[in-house]
Symmetry: D2
Subunit: 339 residues, 4 copies
């Protein structure tokens, strides 16, 4: 195998289009089967219930390397068709992956058994079977710095900063297929509770190192804003891809509302697509049943699906898309709450 | 929740029909993505290569509770459309599940958090989220005894015994949707290398307890016969659902041929759908790369897909079905080798 | 890295000696913790209860590559100190690994990212991070043939054949550290319900190919004999390492007794060390709670420990060894039942 | 089962003391075995190498419910015996668990199959098999608010805030067994890159809701400070328990240093105890080999151990404690860097 950059970065990752296949027949068959197929079918129905429920705000939680894996268009379609109202994500998905592609860069099909030392020498980063050009990532890091440099110093929520990223893409982006951009246009809030833990962190550290008066990212503000959205919503439903900080963060808003003296209901609907399980006691695999002891998730309409998301997430969203319940929904434009 | 048998055994498991949905668009999208979606797409292409290769005998390995989970028709369609030439399976799938349904019984949608003590009192058996009527299983056990009682005493391979089961269903079965029956009609061999480790074991122990001259199941004969099929085949491809004994057994035939002095090639194609992984050193999750050190599987066309089979198996077979390469294949009728 | 056989097969796997460290303090600390440490502590206590219970027959189930991983001495000590009364195992552990070492051969420390094509050319087999000399394995296969050739033709249980293997080692073995040998001497039965699915299969196929009147391995007889042991035992306890056929086989004996008209109690005690889980519906990870719906395992004293066995198995047995409850036990010599 | 608070919150979780058992003999045996036991042995040796290397700063990464599971004293001993120099953790471990116990509260042994609706009514929270008094947690939340209220408004790193928490415990704590307290006394920095994603979030949201001029938590400052520590250290080693944000955050400091124009070496040593694996492409299970393509971790001395941490973490630290290499280390007092 020849290790040069041109050869290795040849085949682009292509994003799956959930509008081009209809998973309803598959899911309807899964419904009367067993194990994870049946769980996936129930998760699909619960997601569709969220979309039918006029009172329900739908929150999408994202963790894992989803955009680099070809799932960007799935999220983009959810934004564009009012299938979600809020996104809570790990930083990498938003900055290193979606925003990165919005700047005109790509992810590439790689392979697992690569010689990682040779990759490093070529400045190619690997995520399992996917390759990224580190030189392009550095441009992305620096773009974050440029955005921060242009902002008024002060403490921002990640949502506010990501809004600025959307604005940047709107003006200077090179690929319109970005959910950061689409969310900006639709005033749909995106939160990254651990924002610095991403390419954004590099740019912002650089920014803070250079400037005494600078932008800071206040994760408390994130939590406060998301709790306000929870409070404004009559009911809430959560679609979780992976676990991690976004899962915990969203679950916690119910308790946060309570602490602020507001009697907000538990999340009425919840589905999670994950490979984690509960046996090590970690949050990512903890069951919704457990979450109901904390007063966070109602047990009536919850479903964990223990299967890998690159397969199950497009199937879930294709089902809901073709069911069409989203057609009666409007964009909730939650960003406007905070202006 | 009311625990009575009628209430609990109400909703039958229905078997998915891979002819009623076309997974080609999904798989073609998966092809340029990452992680397990891409692995599944490659597994689909490799399976299709097996079907296109005129020299290739295709062996299906089955482990896990697949038929009770609604996958019977998938296997049945593979038999009926010449998409496989040999089955190697755990005993339960063949006897407790497929043959059991051939006798007119069913599996039922249950639930995970059942009160298992109450189920036991009602003679309801649970497999994760699926229920079975133990009284019906006892009839199945006894049918095996009846078949054994009717046979000439001696040592049989499991294949020979399962052939008799097919014959029985042909005469007295109550549900034609059985791959044991279909395989019988098409002279397609089914091996269960651990045959007694199933409902068959109960019937056969009962048979042997009653009769001094009796039927015995010689697993060496199984291995000998399967090795002969391997030797007769120019090339072989393996489709594995789960791991366990069937995986090992089929992989071992290459070495067995060698020991018999025949220079049989490694399995040219191999795909496995599994949730196991290699980190505990057990065979079920061992990689095909590892198997190539043993001289069992060629590394050129192999793919493990780490995802649960109730979701991935129907997608795999629907892809190959709609590709249509099976149309040029004939039934190999390997049972005739041994007559 | 130089790929020659001498370099690659240099560092022998050494078997851990549970008498040389005392895990009681560790386990007592684990008892008041959480997750798998607490589960392991409870499994230890349940195993000790089995040993204290005068009425209890203890069955050890083995699956996975345990002996090649350095756990042979653990099993050997269990046999020699009357800590178990019956072994039910996958074939490879008994034949390819323990008997193989009894013939004077060894397993070797290897590494995961080996070039498997080069290994194959050198006739080195890989199990995850462990290497085996395929040429030595062929001698092992052939020894099985020699044993079979020397036996009176007929149908044998795997137990009977393994007894002959013990006898062979007693005469011609080159390493006394073999549990096949120790079990032979103590009349402790070893069953391999899928016996041909191992190195034994190779030797026996060779034997059957050469001889018209030959030895066959009747797995029904295995089941019948094990059920008789279950029936003779007032109570039973099961220690399972991994899942697979041994787990199912032993669980099934309760039902088999019932079918033979004997009202045998469920297994009173059960512990399993495994990495599998219940979410795919397969038997290996199915819970004992589920098994109680089938009437196989009592729910009072059962514990699954979800953690890898090379770490947990020595800790479990060291605990029970140092507790000393085995000192009051005698060898049950169940082989004598069948003479 | 009686569901009242007194009955359910009776048996306290007790923290394991790694000084009271010596895991060196166990680990030395594991060294010549296979699979995860050998991996754990290598991880132990690598951790000991870190402690022997005079130039090495040791960073401990924590994710999962470790303190509630009885691992607090392990971390405390690492702090007190200079076995680590920096902690990077999920928020819950630091705030909801360690600080919470410092306030005099406890975690309790619970059970997995609890009725979570009844628990919620009693204000008992469940983590797998562990119970927590939600009313006590609310006091913990409010204590965070009290601390924030007492601070000068402005943007703080989580490290600075946690320092204040240590100071609070020093004055008003009710249980001296707290690593937040011990770290405060030794000027050892603790970072929580997703600080609001914890009980701290509740208190801080409450604080910000009440006060216009308030404390905010700037995660960029965290990243900047941790990068400075990386830059000041000649070499670095990382001990990771679980994955998540702490793993990524610490790995990223190498790149951050590079972006700031400093040529910092990759992490020279790295071990991770985890149950996650690489197959879903998520960061938690990504291999160190992969991380080396990003220029973050050197491949020479890295080891992943795929096994659950409540079992492996105490064994790892007991080994290093009894090896005694920490005796030559001094406390690095990195907090002083930022004064």
């Amino acid at each position: 195998m020849k290790y040069d950059k041109k050869t290795l970065l040849k085949r682009k990752i292509k994003h799956i289009d959930i509008k081009k296949f209809n998973s309803i027949p598959l899911i309807e068959s899964f419904n009367d089967m067993a194990f994870q197929s049946r769980n996936l079918a129930r998760a699909c129905r619960i997601y569709d219930m969220m979309l039918k429920d006029r009172d329900c705000t739908v929150i999408l939680c994202l963790a894992g390397s989803l955009v680099s894996a070809g799932l960007k268009k799935v999220i983009l379609d959810m934004v564009n068709h009012n299938m979600i109202d809020v996104i809570v994500s790990s930083g990498a998905i938003v900055v290193d992956q979606d925003f990165f592609e919005g700047l005109g860069f790509n992810h590439y099909r790689g392979f697992v058994n690569a010689d990682d030392n040779k990759l490093r020498e070529l400045m190619i980063d690997r995520i399992y079977d996917t390759f990224i050009d580190e030189e392009e990532l550095r441009i992305c890091d620096n773009t974050i710095k440029i955005i921060a440099d242009s902002m008024k110093p002060g403490a921002y929520s990640s949502r506010e900063f990501i809004y600025e990223m959307g604005k940047y893409l709107d003006k200077k982006g090179k690929n319109p297929e970005s959910f950061v951009l689409a969310a900006y246009k639709k005033e749909l809030p995106i939160f990254c509770p651990a924002f610095s833990d991403s390419s954004a962190g590099f740019g912002l550290v650089h920014h803070q190192t250079e400037k005494k008066d600078h932008v800071s990212i206040d994760s408390v503000k994130d939590f406060k804003e998301l709790t306000e959205i929870k409070i404004k919503s009559k009911e809430t439903g959560v679609v979780m891809i992976g676990g991690g900080v976004p899962k915990n963060f969203v679950q916690d808003t119910v308790v946060a509302a309570d602490i602020l003296g507001v009697d907000a209901p538990m999340h009425k609907y919840a589905v999670q697509l994950t490979v984690a399980d509960e046996r090590d006691g970690a949050l990512s695999g903890s069951t919704f049943k457990e979450a109901s002891s904390w007063g966070k998730v109602d047990q009536s309409y919850e479903q964990m699906v223990f299967s890998e998301a690159t397969i199950t997430f497009p199937i879930l969203v294709s089902y809901a898309y073709h069911k069409g319940s989203w057609k009666q929904r409007k964009d909730k434009r939650f960003n406007c709450l905070f202006q």
